[in-house]
Symmetry: C6
Subunit: 74 residues, 6 copies
């Protein structure tokens, strides 16, 4: 895969959160790189609240990593 991640450092906690969102998306993309399949899957499931909460859990897990990498922006 092309280069998409050079550093876990970000300037602010919000940029760190947005990096966590990106990491969550890339975890999905590596598992299912075929965009057509990905889109079909999302149509089935992707708008309901269960999907959204589970996606939010993945973001929370990555945010722990990113926040630690940035010493919690202190």
């Amino acid at each position: 895969m092309e280069n998409w991640l050079n550093s876990l450092q970000t300037d602010t906690p919000q940029e760190g959160f947005e990096l966590a969102i990106k990491l969550a998306r890339m975890g999905v993309k590596y598992t299912q790189p075929d965009m057509e399949v990905l889109k079909a899957g999302r149509e089935e499931y992707g708008e309901n609240a269960e999907f959204l909460i589970n996606a939010s859990q993945v973001v929370a897990t990555h945010y722990q990593t990113v926040a630690e990498a940035n010493h919690y922006w202190k």
Copy 2:
């Protein structure tokens, strides 16, 4: 997205918990920014106990991050 997070520091453990709630909500909002879709999804699923427990798990994960960032308010 507009600025919504400047710091993980809070004055008290309870304010930290409320920040964890906010982080959980923002994780959902980034994944599904269309409020109409979000509301429809919640109507389907959003009042049952499974949703509430899963949401509470996301909050617990973010609370680990916020508590660490605040040295557990000691």
Copy 3:
């Protein structure tokens, strides 16, 4: 919300566990503050084993935070 959490410090590991239970419950309450809806949801789902295991996972996650805050009561 009224004040409900002043400290993560507890005297014993068991009191810490009971605080983790409280944190798990408050995570649910913030997400669904309407007690009537909450009770209806629990009747549907709240007595089966899946709910209990998921609730226990939330408690386990909060207990990590509380135990760390108390240096594992050593």
Copy 4:
């Protein structure tokens, strides 16, 4: 509830694992203290593999806490 947890310290990694099992069970018991309801719920769900894997996840989370409390028995 009566006293059931005085320390997170154990002599061996295996005793620590068994403490994690106990913590997972107590998380369920606090959430549903009525043993009759608990047993009925388990009959429905409690023997299938999904329940067992989810219970094992709770144990794994508590084991992180117990292992850290014991400096990994080094």
Copy 5:
């Protein structure tokens, strides 16, 4: 239960991963020690992808513990 775990130390990251697999299996076994019930449960559910991903999550959680116990084999 008989003695099955004396140490979290392993020589290599791969042996650590294999210990995490073992810990995940033992979590299941403590919860459901009756092998006949265990096998029946697995037949129902045990070959589908949901089970495999959930089992893999338990392994990932235990691997965090084992890796920390071994200072990441550095």
Copy 6:
């Protein structure tokens, strides 16, 4: 199983992420080494969004381990 993991060290955060993907896959493979069963299971479930989010959660958990092992590539 043959040797497949010698180190958790990687040169870049992206290579660390790719290692986390590999660890997630190996967790599945150890649990179900029969490739035919694995493929059948994936056909049933493997293209929907629930599977992809759960797989992404496993990757996020392993990424915490790998990032810590690499001092967050700082």
